[in-house]
């Protein structure tokens, strides 16, 4: 295993004689986005909060960077782990700048260092510097969520814990911000543990997904593993409703490459060159654009093997891929 950043070993949390989290274990590697997925009450938020000790585990061991989290003061631990929750937790009595500066002030940074870092960060997060003096009450939902993220990222913690970070946003803003966040190199370098109940969000952002139910882990694995090799009926049922959509989100053209048929070139078609790393759903979307039939030119980097494919070809390749699983 590449270097492990967060590790839970047989962790149990009991609330009033009822186990909220029951004997779970998993590890998160550096740079991974690890998703805790499940319905409300499944124990995913409790699991997240045990990592930065907002809740103390009843049994079991939690290691962060190889060190038992109980070995250092909770406040010190937390200052080195970014924590993002829904946007309405910005401090209403602090301006945007003061909100972002909370952790630097706790870490006793000098003013210049803090200001330089804030200016750099808001630029990356596409926040206007005019907003720095503004209070959270005056921000839009999207702006507030960016400030919230800036507050968690400002001290550049290697680990980020996120609890339904997009939960309070409307669907449109939500997917826009999600896409934007996914592009941030500030986030790409981080090890992220994120809680969500949104299946689509989980598959879009997660490098690995941990599906939980009633305090237990049902399955942990890469998105494709959960779809094509469900560990039990619960996992199968959980994804059955949007299974096809999820498959198209998860699989890339490279995954189904052997099954893609090379179509003969036609003079009536438009051609577009695309990367083989795009998902099937993205590829399908491109073939349907402008309501006219369009053929795609695909380049395979490794072999310089070129294939010209159509929408029907993609559907065929997927069904062949599925049969071979």
């Amino acid at each position: 295993m590449s270097n492990t950043v967060v590790s839970l070993q047989q962790v149990t949390k009991v609330f009033e004689n009822r186990p909220a989290v029951n004997n779970i274990s998993f590890t998160v590697s550096a740079g991974e986005t690890f998703i805790l997925l499940g319905t409300s009450g499944c124990g995913k938020t409790t699991t997240l909060k045990m990592i930065n000790r907002l809740t103390e585990a009843t049994e079991g061991t939690i290691l962060v960077n190889g060190k038992n989290i109980l070995e250092q003061p909770a406040t010190i631990l937390r200052r080195n782990i970014g924590y993002v929750v829904q946007h309405n937790t910005l401090f209403p009595h602090y301006s945007v700048a003061e909100n972002i500066a909370v952790v630097p002030n706790l870490l006793l940074w000098d003013k210049e260092k803090t200001n330089a870092r804030i200016n750099k960060l808001i630029d990356k997060l596409h926040l206007s510097p005019n907003l720095l003096g503004v209070y959270p009450g005056q921000l839009s939902g999207g702006e507030a969520q960016r400030v919230n993220l800036a507050r968690a990222l400002v001290a550049d913690p290697p680990i980020l814990l996120m609890d339904e970070p997009f939960g309070a946003l409307d669907t449109i803003t939500r997917s826009a911000i999600r896409k934007e966040f996914a592009q941030l190199d500030e986030l790409k370098r981080k090890t992220i543990v994120m809680v969500t109940h949104d299946v689509q969000e989980a598959f879009e952002m997660g490098s690995r997904i941990c599906l939980m139910d009633k305090g237990r882990i049902m399955q942990t694995g890469k998105p494709a593993e959960l779809l094509f090799h469900p560990a039990n009926d619960f996992v199968r049922d959980f994804f059955s409703e949007s299974w096809l959509q999820l498959c198209f989100m998860v699989l890339k053209l490279t995954d189904v490459w052997p099954f893609l048929l090379n179509e003969p070139a036609s003079e009536y078609a438009n051609y577009e060159e695309v990367s083989p790393a795009i998902t099937l759903s993205k590829a399908m979307q491109l073939t349907k654009e402008k309501n006219e039939k369009k053929t795609l030119l695909v380049v395979n980097d490794n072999t310089t093997d070129k294939k010209t494919i159509t929408g029907e070809g993609i559907l065929y390749a997927f069904s062949e891929y599925q049969r071979n699983q």
């Binding site: 907002l54 631990l77 200052r79 924590y83 937790t89 952790v103 706790l106 209070y135 968690a152």
Partner: protein
């Protein structure tokens, strides 16, 4: 003094005193508020951390709030004596509940997700409290302080009852003296203070959320305002006199003492309810009492001889609405059954039973009437209802009870009592407004408080009990259609009193002796 004074001329005349009382009032309010904040806010924080304690602490503070303010001041005297100390403690207890409760509610109601975010970012419990919870709870805490301030400005008027000063001196003096200007001179500034502080604190409350630094502005400000009270009271020693607000403003009281005897000594203003006790417990040396008060006997006090005769006769007689007498002529003979039966020492003994033995006035009245062979069982007549009033001290309660029992036993009239009316003005106004039919009044009071004739007229009557009686009887009949019946016989005049052992030790037996002693020491 004869002509009617305007409000403004009163204010101008008393400007110095008004300023002093206002500063005392502000000082009293804020020194107690300061202590309440220093104790209430930490207590509120504590119970927001240990919510199991919340019920108990809020319960105790709530009980304090329900004790009537005068009673609370009364409880304080055995513990802290008289003067500012018990007043500050009582005001502090009143201010405590709103401050604790609002601190607690303010902190508890801060969004729990915001608290969790603070903890999650790595704030310690203390940092979460001071950086997040307190600033967010501040508008609620300030609202509590605001309520406490307004309560304190109001309750501080009662501090005048226990010699702590403040605007209550004018208010209660004015009520006793039937002087509306004096009442207003106390009440208007008190109301303005309440409005002003409420306004200032509301401004503070609305600017805080963003600028969270209020606390640093407020504490020094409150300290400064508190200082108004502490500074003037430093220094001074010697004999201390405690006079009632009424006595302070009267020609036949303190004003006369100054003019005729040239008395100049340290004086505090105090309610007669606590004055005797304070004298007995040596908080006061000289007090202005009433000649027949039972507590003279109970507390081993003696009256000083009025050798220059400034206290006019205060013979007690029932006064009755003329209309009532005409409707029920039998009343006159019934009410005059007491005439000649109660002299000064009998009245003192009766008062002693009430003030010191704590017997109910009804029983004292009945025992006395029985012993005099006057008592007859009630006839339970329903012919009409006679309304009897009384002022708020034992002697009046006892007399009202005697009249009640006599009227019920000797006629078919029923009686309704309205006892405990706050002062001469309240009793008299109740009568002229047809709220009561009769109450026992004193000739001197009728002359000086109600009629208020020109000074030369008073001089011509002065000291002669029959002349005063004839004058008030004639004037009341003419001006107010109120009849004075025959005097009962005792003379409850003002007197200066001291502890018996102190008069012996200092060899003070008359007011002249006292003036001499004060001037030479």
């Amino acid at each position: 003094m004869g002509e009617t004074q305007t409000f403004w001329s009163f204010i101008q005349e008393q400007a110095g005193k008004l300023l002093e009382q206002t500063l005392q009032h502000i000082g009293l309010t804020f020194i107690s508020l300061l202590i309440a904040i220093l104790i209430g806010v930490p207590l509120g924080i504590l119970i927001s951390r240990r919510t199991k304690l919340a019920g108990t602490v809020l319960g105790i503070a709530g009980v304090m709030q329900t004790i009537p303010s005068i009673a609370l001041l009364g409880f304080m005297i055995p513990l802290f004596g008289i003067g500012p100390k018990p007043a500050i403690v009582a005001l502090f207890l009143y201010a405590l509940l709103p401050i604790i409760r609002n601190t607690y509610t303010g902190i508890i109601n801060v969004d729990k997700h915001i608290k969790e975010a603070a903890t999650g970012l790595g704030m310690s419990d203390r940092q979460t409290l001071f950086k997040v919870e307190m600033p967010l709870a501040m508008p609620v805490i300030l609202a509590g302080i605001r309520i406490a301030t307004v309560i304190n400005v109001g309750v501080a008027t009662l501090a005048a009852y226990i010699a702590a000063g403040g605007l209550g001196e004018f208010i209660f003096g004015g009520i006793s003296l039937n002087n509306t200007n004096m009442i207003l001179a106390g009440a208007i500034p008190a109301a303005l203070l309440a409005l002003l502080f409420d306004f200032l604190l509301s401004r503070l409350q609305h600017t805080t959320l963003k600028k969270g630094r209020v606390v640093f502005v407020m504490l020094p400000l409150i300290l400064l305002l508190s200082a108004f009270y502490v500074l003037p009271s430093l220094g001074a020693s010697g004999l201390l006199a405690g006079f009632t607000p009424e006595f302070m403003g009267r020609q036949d009281g303190y004003l006369g003492l100054k003019k005729t005897y040239g008395l100049h000594m340290r004086i505090v203003v105090i309610s007669d309810a606590v004055m005797y006790k304070a004298a007995q417990e040596k908080h006061l040396d000289v007090i202005s009492g009433y000649g027949t008060d039972g507590r003279i006997k109970a507390f081993d006090l003696v009256t000083l001889t009025d050798d220059k005769k400034i206290f006019p006769p205060y013979y007690c007689a029932p006064i009755v609405r003329k209309q009532t007498l005409e409707q029920y002529p039998e009343l006159k003979n019934i009410l005059e059954l007491l005439t000649g039966r109660i002299n000064d020492s009998v009245m003192t003994a009766l008062n002693y039973k009430a003030d010191y033995l704590h017997l109910p006035p009804e029983q004292i009245a009945r025992d006395f009437l029985t012993a005099q062979g006057l008592y007859k069982p009630p006839r339970n007549g329903k012919k009409a209802t006679i309304r009897i009033g009384s002022k708020i001290f034992a002697e009046q309660y006892i007399l009202a009870s005697m009249y009640t029992q006599l009227i019920k036993g000797y006629s078919d009239l029923d009686v309704q009592t309205k006892t405990g009316l706050g002062g001469t003005k309240i009793c008299f106004d109740a009568m002229t407004n047809d709220q009561i039919d009769l109450y026992p009044e004193y000739t001197g009071t009728g002359l000086l408080v109600i009629l208020q004739p020109a000074a030369n007229k008073i001089d011509s009557l002065n000291q002669d009990k029959d002349a005063v009686y004839d004058f008030v009887q004639k004037e009341f009949q003419q001006r107010y259609q109120i009849s004075w019946l025959q005097p009962i016989g005792f003379n409850n005049t003002y007197a200066l009193m001291m502890r018996k052992e102190q008069t012996n030790a200092l060899n003070i037996h008359s007011i002249t002796d006292l003036v001499h002693y004060v001037d030479t020491n």
